[in-house]
């Protein structure tokens, strides 16, 4: 209610009929008034009443989203001549799905700062789905400012393609590849366009290149299936067609400007998404910060707790990791009561990973017996969980149970023959190393035992 007291919603009329206008700050200071008066004079800049404000903001349950909108909105109202303020409001709108409002903001931002690449580019991005021609115009201006931008060229090519301007799209994609032959998406898209215009060999070369750069690319397999079919190579075509139905994970473009937009996502989904990315990139502290919000918002989602725990483990925050992983374990143990979606997000190998991580944490906390139990629990979900076998070996060695350690280490070697277990043992099994003075000697012993038992 405090927020509401600072704002008024007025009904105004213009030639288009009544318009809901948000006016901000009842406590107007003289300087701001003067600025607004200047700003509302035609030719002097944007009028305050033109600051877009989605009608459904009041329906949002998430205070963070509301606050992000209000802060960015106030910032614009405070400084109508600031391109950064307009752009930031545009970012907030864009990431939360208010594309029409984002368009208005980015247009305003680029008018105020036409030399800034990002406003042209972001305008193109938010226009792409509704007005490809306008998006092309925005991307073109972005490229005028920064002729090296791969992202602007790529998305301009996408919009050109939508407009059936294939030739120009191909030229742009070729220019991207000329500058950096390793841009996977450009190879992929150009390959698809070459196929569309009947340049079979060029298409084949580009799509194969796209696959070389990243084999998890269903789209490239799709094109190659078609090429082989056209060439009468049905068997090859069928192989690619089968691979084309697997989930795809093409290499993303380097796109820091859009990345900044994503930082503004305030829903749980965005926190979890960013956190997962930070975790993958090894930025554990930021992952922890983002996951903390996700688990607070959605404490029933096992995968959030699981990944939160993994991030904490990586950051050596074992006590917190234990709490988080145990929370996930409770949810996962009652697997049948999880939603279909959660169940699909937690296949056996992921569930095994959860319990293996929990085992590792317990080992670090000196609870070796409990750790061994968790490793066994991990293996009950996935018998091929390397981390669980390794952890179990470590626990067994600590407990002096050489026979069990032997089985686990042999299984580790089977699962990952190239993994240097001796070295790992040196790291994790100091107790045993102290006893035998030589980890290599231990391995020799274990291997000979394994051979004998076979």
């Amino acid at each position: 209610m405090a927020t509401r007291s600072k704002r008024e919603t007025l009904e105004a009329s213009d030639e288009h009929g009544p318009r809901k206008v948000i006016l901000v700050f009842t406590e107007l200071k003289l300087s701001l008034t003067l600025l607004l008066l200047l700003a509302s004079i035609p030719g002097c800049g944007p009028a305050r009443s033109a600051i877009p404000y989605p009608n459904d903001v009041e329906q949002i349950e998430s205070l963070r989203v509301k606050e992000a909108v209000q802060v960015a909105h106030h910032s614009v109202a405070n400084n109508l001549r600031s391109s950064e303020a307009w752009g930031q409001l545009g970012r907030v709108y864009a990431i939360h799905g208010w594309e029409r409002q984002a368009v208005v903001c980015f247009r305003q931002a680029r008018e105020l700062a036409p030399a800034e690449f990002c406003w042209h580019y972001l305008l193109g991005r938010v226009l792409a789905n509704s007005d490809p021609a306008a998006a092309v115009e925005a991307y073109s201006k972005a490229i005028e400012v920064d002729s090296d931008s791969v992202a602007a060229k790529f998305y301009k090519a996408e919009s050109l393609n939508q407009m059936n301007n294939i030739d120009e799209a191909r030229l742009l994609l070729k220019s991207i590849i000329a500058a950096d032959p390793n841009t996977q998406l450009a190879n992929l898209r150009l390959g698809e366009l070459e196929l569309q215009v009947g340049h079979i060999e060029a298409a084949r070369r580009l799509l194969n290149r796209a696959l070389q750069l990243n084999s998890d690319c269903s789209e490239a397999h799709m094109g190659l299936a078609r090429i082989h079919k056209i060439c009468g190579q049905d068997e090859e075509a069928r192989k690619h067609a089968a691979l084309a139905r697997l989930p795809s994970n093409p290499q993303p473009l380097h796109d820091p400007v859009w990345g900044e937009v994503q930082l503004n996502g305030q829903t749980t989904h965005w926190y979890a998404k960013r956190a997962t990315q930070y975790l993958k990139n090894g930025d554990f502290e930021r992952a922890i910060a983002e996951f903390r919000v996700a688990v607070e918002d959605a404490p029933h989602v096992a995968s959030y707790w699981m990944n939160f725990g993994a991030a904490l483990l990586q950051a050596n925050r074992f006590a917190e990791a234990r709490a988080s992983l145990e929370r996930a374990a409770v949810l996962v143990r009652d697997f049948s009561s999880l939603s279909d979606q959660q169940q699909r997000e937690l296949p056996p190998e992921k569930r095994a990973g959860l319990f293996a991580n929990l085992g590792v944490v317990l080992n670090h906390l000196g609870e070796t017996r409990s750790a061994a139990d968790r490793f066994r629990e991990s293996l009950s979900h996935d018998q091929d969980c390397y981390a669980a076998h390794l952890g179990l070996a470590r626990s067994s060695i600590s407990a002096g149970q050489l026979s069990e350690a032997q089985k686990s280490l042999v299984r580790c070697q089977e699962l990952r023959p190239n993994e240097d277990i001796t070295e790992l043992l040196e790291k994790v099994s100091s107790v045993y190393v102290e006893r035998t003075h030589d980890a290599a000697q231990l391995m020799d012993f274990l291997r000979s035992e394994a051979t004998r038992s076979e």
Partner: protein
């Protein structure tokens, strides 16, 4: 506009074609029903024709997915009186998923519709989604399959204008969430088989929100996929589930289906539009086995290899090359996709090159179909729209009800015959200008005047009947193709007229969750003669028929043509 001396000319040409003359049918013309509203190419005649207004109050949604997927409609002559009747699949009101939701049946009599669902025993109370019509027992009347969220129902037509629920007796029990179904004689044994499309295993405990965190309907990604079902007709109308034994084993999230010979090998295939997953083209190999060849043939994803949220399917020969083209409708932000047939049975995404794509990208398309609204000899396109995710509210701040952010306008697109489609949204009348949450769309000549009319199924409302009022002097021919007493679904027609040929298929099941008038509506343009029609029956035999007059309805019966 019929020319003098017309009949003599036709006879001479037919004689040259060496064919047996088709059987003219005295079509029952509906009384003229004046439209409502401002007019346009299509005029909403619903209320004046006896169908209640579609704007009845409908409760706020509860973000339960099935309440936003239903809405199929069907056009068929249920009482064999020569005109089309309407069936609408009805969902229970939001928040009352277990409440009976009797489907509605509007029986036509000379242009007036009367709701008779309860009286004729066809008011299935299930959670309605889709409808399929076909004569499964070859007794000359239409039987009705209802795909439901929950147990489906199969009603046998008793021949006296009434129906009885024969679901268990016919052996088609399916309790999954099914969205669409279609009849096709896939094994060419003279009996219609049944393909039922499964959507997802719904989990009511899953709550979803839009990008801003506002509660909204979940998408299909939140749920596990469901297997489609293929039932083979034993010959007496009873069915046996042969899904897995014929190789249909991959579950997906299906919404639309077409059963037709897509691969030009004489065998019926099934094309399934899947929501958020690659579409499937179940290609029949040898009469007993199907494989999903959609990826090989280029109809599983868009041209970029991206699976889309596919809903409805249109099928037809868009570019007059004697091969069937496919079109699927999609969610807002994706273009609908036109798959044009190419040599070697391949298809390519030609959406952008024919002027589609940009025009439909802002909409969430469901029901769709190719039809020649202006009878100029090439196939145009109608699409009904309605969001499944909340759309932006108007900046002007319309107060709006719950459903307003889901409402959209429909689309009518004209094929200019030169390979381009043009948006006729502004001239198409209320069909395209009124904002609704539309799902089902059925095509048929309701008033038997030689052009194709439209019936739209909207969420929470009665069906809308839009009469085709396109001012056109173009000639036409309506062809009913019969095998025994039933429509010969799957039969292919090659029509020769004025040194031109055109290809048509006898189909009822296309669009979304809907069933259509199975008669072929052939636009002839200025040509006022049809030399002959070659019919390729589902069993592969070909017969030639002559036509002695255009601008009428004719019947082609299997076994009555000149065998080729």
């Amino acid at each position: 506009m019929k020319s003098p001396g017309f009949q003599l000319l036709v006879l001479v040409l037919c004689s040259g074609c060496g064919s047996v003359v088709s059987e003219p049918l005295a079509a029952k013309r509906a009384a003229v029903v004046q439209g409502e509203g401002a007019g346009g190419l299509f005029v909403d005649v619903s209320r004046r024709a006896g169908v209640p207004a579609s704007t009845e109050a409908w409760p706020r949604g509860t973000y339960t997915l099935p309440e936003i997927t239903g809405g199929g409609v069907a056009l068929g002559d249920l009482d064999n009186d020569g005109d089309l009747d309407i069936i609408q699949a009805v969902c229970p009101p939001p928040g009352e998923p277990h409440a009976p939701a009797p489907n509605r049946v509007y029986q036509q009599d000379g242009g007036r519709f009367t709701e008779v669902g309860q009286r004729i025993g066809l008011a299935d109370p299930g959670y309605g989604q889709g409808i399929a019509l076909g004569d499964v027992d070859n007794d000359g009347d239409l039987d009705v399959y209802f795909a439901n969220f929950g147990p489906d129902s199969f009603y046998l037509n008793l021949g006296n204008g009434t129906f009885r629920d024969a679901t268990d007796e016919l052996g088609v029990r399916s309790d999954d969430w099914n969205t669409s179904a279609t009849f096709a004689d896939f094994d060419a044994d003279g009996n219609l088989d049944l393909f039922v499309v499964g959507y997802t295993h719904f989990d009511a405990s899953v709550a979803c929100a839009n990008s801003a965190g506002i509660a909204d309907y979940c998408g299909p990604l939140n749920f596990r996929p469901s297997l489609d079902k293929l039932f083979r007709n034993r010959g007496d109308g009873t069915m046996v589930n042969v899904t897995e034994s014929v190789g249909i084993t991959n579950a997906s999230k299906g919404l639309g289906v077409v059963g037709a010979d897509v691969t030009n090998d004489g065998l019926v295939d099934f094309y399934v539009a899947n929501d958020g997953e690659p579409n499937q083209l179940w290609v029949q190999i040898d009469g007993s086995r199907f494989i999903d060849d959609s990826t090989m043939l280029g109809v599983s994803t868009n041209g970029k290899g991206t699976p889309e949220g596919s809903m409805g399917i249109a099928i037809g020969d868009v570019n007059n090359d004697f091969s069937l083209d496919l079109y699927t409708t999609h969610i807002q932000g994706e273009t609908n996709t036109l798959y044009m047939s190419e040599p070697m049975n391949l298809f390519s995404d030609q959406t952008n090159s024919v002027g589609l794509g940009m025009v439909d990208m802002p909409y969430t398309g469901f029901g769709c179909g190719f039809f020649d609204y202006d009878r100029d000899g090439d196939l145009d396109l109608a699409i009904v729209n309605g969001r499944v995710k909340r759309g932006p509210l108007d900046d002007e701040g319309h107060p709006g009800g719950f459903w307003e952010p889901y409402e959209e306008c429909n689309l009518l697109l004209r094929n200019d015959g030169q390979g381009r489609f043009h948006n006729l949204q502004e001239s198409a009348g209320e069909f395209a200008t009124a904002r609704r949450v539309s799902r089902g769309l059925a095509f048929g000549d309701i008033d038997n005047d030689g052009d194709v009319d439209l019936v739209v199924g909207n969420i929470g409302g009665h069906p809308e009947v839009h009469f085709n009022e396109c001012p056109s002097d173009n000639h036409w021919l309506t062809v009913r193709v019969l095998e025994g007493q039933r429509d010969a679904l799957g039969a292919k027609l090659e029509v020769q007229s004025c040194n031109k040929k055109s290809a048509h298929v006898v189909l009822a099941g296309y669009s979304y969750a809907s069933s259509n008038d199975p008669r072929c509506h052939i636009g002839l343009g200025e040509c006022d003669v049809v030399d002959c029609i070659d019919v390729t029956w589902v069993d592969g035999s070909i017969e030639r028929f002559g036509v002695n007059q255009v601008d009428q309805q004719v019947i082609l019966r299997k076994g009555h043509g000149e065998l080729r």
